[in-house]
Symmetry: D2
Amino acid sequence: MPEDGHMRTDVHLLSMAHPGDVSALDALIRSGAICAARIVAVIGKTEGNGGVNDFTRAYFTQSLMHLLARHLGDEPARLAARIPCILSGGTEGVLSPHYVVFCRDQATGDDDGEGGALALGLAFSEATPTERIGRASHARQVADAVRAAMRDAGIERTSDVHFVQVKTPCITVARAEEARARGVEPVTGDPNRAMAYARAAGALGVALALGEIDDDVLSDAALLRDMHLHSDRASVSSGVEIAGNEVIVLGNSPRCNGPYRIAHRPMRDALDIHAVVDVLAELGLQASPQIDGASLQRIAGVFVKCEPQRQGRVRASRHTMLDDTDINAQRHVRGAVGGLVAGVIGDGRIFVSGGAEHQGPDGGGLVAVIANTARDD
Amino acid sequence: MPEDGHMRTDVHLLSMAHPGDVSALDALIRSGAICAARIVAVIGKTEGNGGVNDFTRAYFTQSLMHLLARHLGDEPARLAARIPCILSGGTEGVLSPHYVVFCRDQATGDDDGEGGALALGLAFSEATPTERIGRASHARQVADAVRAAMRDAGIERTSDVHFVQVKTPCITVARAEEARARGVEPVTGDPNRAMAYARAAGALGVALALGEIDDDVLSDAALLRDMHLHSDRASVSSGVEIAGNEVIVLGNSPRCNGPYRIAHRPMRDALDIHAVVDVLAELGLQASPQIDGASLQRIAGVFVKCEPQRQGRVRASRHTMLDDTDINAQRHVRGAVGGLVAGVIGDGRIFVSGGAEHQGPDGGGLVAVIANTARDD
Amino acid sequence: MPEDGHMRTDVHLLSMAHPGDVSALDALIRSGAICAARIVAVIGKTEGNGGVNDFTRAYFTQSLMHLLARHLGDEPARLAARIPCILSGGTEGVLSPHYVVFCRDQATGDDDGEGGALALGLAFSEATPTERIGRASHARQVADAVRAAMRDAGIERTSDVHFVQVKTPCITVARAEEARARGVEPVTGDPNRAMAYARAAGALGVALALGEIDDDVLSDAALLRDMHLHSDRASVSSGVEIAGNEVIVLGNSPRCNGPYRIAHRPMRDALDIHAVVDVLAELGLQASPQIDGASLQRIAGVFVKCEPQRQGRVRASRHTMLDDTDINAQRHVRGAVGGLVAGVIGDGRIFVSGGAEHQGPDGGGLVAVIANTARDD
Amino acid sequence: MPEDGHMRTDVHLLSMAHPGDVSALDALIRSGAICAARIVAVIGKTEGNGGVNDFTRAYFTQSLMHLLARHLGDEPARLAARIPCILSGGTEGVLSPHYVVFCRDQATGDDDGEGGALALGLAFSEATPTERIGRASHARQVADAVRAAMRDAGIERTSDVHFVQVKTPCITVARAEEARARGVEPVTGDPNRAMAYARAAGALGVALALGEIDDDVLSDAALLRDMHLHSDRASVSSGVEIAGNEVIVLGNSPRCNGPYRIAHRPMRDALDIHAVVDVLAELGLQASPQIDGASLQRIAGVFVKCEPQRQGRVRASRHTMLDDTDINAQRHVRGAVGGLVAGVIGDGRIFVSGGAEHQGPDGGGLVAVIANTARDD
């Protein structure tokens, strides 16, 4: 972000017909509604299984980068290195495949004063060696990236940060083998377990950067153990398709203007409908019990993290997600929480990501919403 | 039901630790809180996959009947023939395995006057031949059973009926082969498709008996085709474990007394949170957005039917449930709608059953709630 | 194929590390071992679920076409229109993701005389309207394409054809809706069922072209009904990613030379290990019970079709594939037959495709093998 | 087993139509072909998913024990405590649900001399505390039980033991919570991982008792780490339905007679068809490549353990079993190896159990066959 002058961040919520479909974005670029050169990040949900063998994320990314390369006359690989495309697989139940395109530009008007407007910052870290993935040093690497992304966003106060999306690499069977061949041991050889460790490192990295935890409580042993340590603003995905960490910081900055604002709430468990209603209210959207059509038009992005409660209970009752050999527990919880949030919003285009280790209260998660809060004139 | 005198129906909502666990009921019988001889029906959810090869239903039923046989000094098979145990498999997401035990007894007080109190009636039909399953004559067989169950409940007006649970037989590969060996053709040879046809027949049978459709619109071709034909009060399961149809009618009858009442609402789609809030309000329970702990204590049973919208959309957005080869579409929708309803109720012990063909509006479903509406004195 | 002069077909069996990985082919092109301009077809297996929502096929195809476009200085879309890339998803059990690249060139030596050498021919049909998919007219459209591909291969006698790979479009929920909006009805609205109908049409199209069935037995009603009608040389996949039919004919032609030959056998059921041993023996490879390492080096491609026996039995015993709501029946059978064939071959890089409706004997399937049968000199 | 006098063990291979179906055994008892009082053990495969939430095992066991209770005038719970019923869930692919009933009786003829005949011995251990499950002390507890079962079988030489079936308890989410509430930590909180640890303990217990490993290499750290430690004769299942360990030893004893003999082979990987052909040959059954119908009639039980190779390769090629979030890796490998063995045998009624940690060579497993080797007279 430039030292002086104002920025604005615009947000476009687009549907996809399949994981290779970027036609909605193509149309907006062709029409001039979006300037391809202003696109700085994409967050979305694709319809894979959300696990290690979910290739819909890489397929969408390849399709997106080829599209942008065509419009910008650049190489797909070079674009992928500077435009994070962070996808979560799994559109269980009523969830709908979609992507949110973030554009950043010099602002034409004044800054937005005290409340501020939506600001976005980016940072990329170097490749994380396989044996470091899911450990404390991985978290510290992420924390450095979060601080860099805050600077890029022009956000000074950590309280102005409302959502930090992190994508970390994970450990496949092949990577684990390669590491062992080098004489080092990955944190685990189980691919699904490794994704959990990687997400934990990302989340505690965010918590560290935002001051939600102190550095002295962060150790290898804390990851996936000290579950009270958490960030209420971290959302972490882990995927086979990247080698380093990608960080997108979203917040409100007094140095930005534009119609968009963001808010967030922790969710204490998978039934925490209060959190959803409250975050909407903060943005001026009334859910009683569902927001109306006009309010729905103002929604530019809904981001949710959640996870199956680890003791096998949701409040007083037993759940069966963790004992299910047929359906992955993360798929279960995304479907359930997605159903709840979509019911309050009235639309299934919600980024609901499982694997909320250290992201929100243990057994719960968090919700963040970006809305157009401009007054109708 | 006796010609004169009043009845009361009591309702017990119990958890199970696994599909063979009937210890909660055993404890209530041993303590005297439930008289085993008064148990007339059980409706519940077990944690199988809810499909053709879900044996958790039969396992729970076997366990239940052995328990009752021990308490009553009777044969399990004889008890199973008179006490319907209608189970839906699949506790996706936050749903919790549970069963609702209905007891019927002579009432000691006066009748409940105009509003009435919860009434329950039963009926069993003869075995449905495989080639008849899922066809119009199957629906008419179910309609006759619904009328018989209304008489058994002491309910005269169809408007006093709020929930009709039907269990129908389905067509396994083995049954289809047996039918073809006799020279007759089942409606389909695909087991999952056959379950859908069987549910359709059950639902239109209820609609016919309750006057929601006319007999002249009911034909073989109407099933799974004329989707505007439906009942807002039918809930149909289909399973390999039975040969005939079992019907439980639940309503409010002026000839009954006791603290329980039932209400229902159609759900227009999988996001219809209004229906859930409204049905609770009718029973005096305020969801804002979730009912409070005291209200939750009054809930004795929540029954939901739902289905994936067949055109692949939920309102404006595409869903992916029907194109998923990994997870059955019914599992998807149960998880999503279960998450929504559980979020309003604050508990996962909700009977959410997929396969809502002709049960509630097309692409939606229905919700019924039994609550203790007695005034606190 | 040119009227005079000889052709040769070369075959390259390559592994992939993930569905976007075409690096093995890239390396061979860069080294000069493969001339990109000579590549005429690709057949492979990717590691998706093999169902409607398997996007690994489209992802690999996109990756392949971008690679070839880079080497040939052409457009990916134009290449995709002339180079069929026919993929089957699902590498259950020991199966290994791989692709077989076919190159065709002018032969430098004499023709191969009576026995002939491997010949390959291609044909593409126009788009099949959704309402035509899975019906008799679809089969006739495929038959015309098979005849065209035989001419392209330089094969005159139908007995010289040993394997015909067909890819047909399928009916997604969206396509079915679009058709109904035009007032026409697709053969079925169920996506998995529609894939079966499409494969049936492709298979009977091959059978018609090769004289294995007569035209007068081919009717809409015959598809998925008259299961004794079949081709022992048809392999059909169906996928959302194409609109028309793609046909690859493989056989031995006296007008071709080169080291490769192809042979095939029907498989009478999923336990027909004799068929596998016999087809290898015809190519001079002795399995006792497994072929040795030197023989394995000669294998250039193994292609298998199979399906779950529809009456729920494999010989004397019940199987459970068709009643399983958790795992698609085609995934089950691919895993089992793949395990058997891989055990005889000693390698998991086998094209095993489920959905063998009318492809090989009912309840069985077929196996074809391409081997380098040149004498070691 | 009595000190003097001879024993014989008879084996009955029976099919089941569903997991509650014990009608085949019922018929044999009614006909007098089996004396219910002589039944000492049952090993079988049911059609669940083979995971933590596979309740088909408990359902079949309950059905079996109720049947035997009826015939013997005893209590089901008392029978279950003395007759081990060890089931493996998962009949992927061509595998067929079945059970093998073992009966033991005083022999009427002479002993069988040098070669010996099939002998069976049993042992039960006390409940294994949750925190001990999957650790070295668990293995030693199993080893003691194996030695006791050998004594019970009348087998003195460890080389006469050919198959040891062990069932161990596993750690569910609930059991893990209970342990933590007591202040002790289970080996892992992940249910699927816990089953692996429990199987590892069982396998190394067998290896210890049979002299395949020394006690000094057995430590907590060795489990699931030192994979070269293994038994070629151990088959271990783990299930929620039991609290202690159950052991069945099968071998050939010179003190027994009768027509049955048992043999075994390690399988070096999932493609080791040689092991299958060789074990059959040892029993006089020629597979070329499949045994003939008369030989198939002699097969009384086929028992296989296998597992997905942990480095993600089967010989030279990558497999995808361990990276699959949709289908559990054990289901994958059972289907593949089941397909191979069933292809050699010609029948799907094969006990194929995944989770072969320390059971057979790493990445492989083992096969044992019981056949009637009596000469036809």
